[in-house]
């Protein structure tokens, strides 16, 4: 039994029992990042009431320092 934080009006938060919700997990793995999205909806309603995103970046900024040739 797990309680999920949801919002039905976009502002106020409430808790809902996970088993009463429709869960969708999206995994997107590309050259730039690995993303896992967890979405919850009410049964019979396509509106998203919870969406969490967990991401690992693969391409990161790098500065190169070099001494000039004399």
């Amino acid at each position: 039994m797990s309680q999920i934080t949801i919002t039905r009006d976009g502002v106020n938060l409430e808790k809902a029992e996970e088993s009463t919700l429709r869960k969708r997990i999206i995994i997107d793995d590309d050259d730039n990042e690995l993303t896992t999205v967890v979405e919850y909806r009410d049964y019979g309603n396509d509106r998203i009431i919870h969406r969490s995103v967990h991401m690992s970046l693969k391409k990161l900024p790098t500065a190169e320092a070099s001494a000039a040739e004399l």
């Binding site: 949801i6 938060l13 998203i48 969490s52 900024p61």
Partner: protein, 153 residues
């Protein structure tokens, strides 16, 4: 047989990250402690990138549970050298907890919140996202050469 080699000193690269050199005019620092770094999220229609010099709330996300300026970055590991590369990585994931961000965002700005100018460090871009009553977590890479978040190679 010993020989000399032209190189950018590896220690210098780390010293840059620690603010030990100032080739131009610099600032008077209040102490010797590490600065505080923050991470803020920006909307897809912003224009952040290499030319971004400082944090500004223009174009920043807004929504329930999100505070303008973003979140503090956990900095428990000082810059170091890995091979000839100077590296630094936040010591914990960036976690924007229980937020509702309905407008799509695709950039995280890392900036110095101790500096009066809120000087920028890096912009991290990713696929467009929204969050609803949930968390947005950026997992940090391994703090090694080739992987660290900030690298001077």
């Amino acid at each position: 047989m010993a020989a000399n080699a032209q190189a950018m000193c590896t220690s210098f690269k780390k010293d840059i990250l620690n603010g030990l050199h100032a080739f131009g005019t610099t600032v008077i620092r209040a102490g010797t402690t590490a600065d505080s770094f923050y991470a803020a999220l920006f909307l897809v229609n912003s224009s952040l990138g290499a030319a971004t010099t400082a944090y500004s709330s223009s174009g920043e996300v807004s929504g329930s549970g999100y505070t303008a300026g973003g979140i503090a970055v956990t900095n428990a590991t000082a810059p170091s050298n890995s091979s000839t590369v100077a590296i630094w990585t936040p010591s914990a994931s960036l976690n924007f907890g229980t937020v509702t961000l309905s407008s799509a965002f695709d950039t995280c700005l890392l900036y110095n919140n101790t500096a009066s100018g809120k000087n920028s460090v890096a912009t991290l871009t990713f696929g467009s996202q929204t969050v609803t009553a949930g968390n947005f977590t950026l997992t940090m890479p391994a703090n090694t050469a080739g992987n660290a978040l900030i690298q001077i190679s």
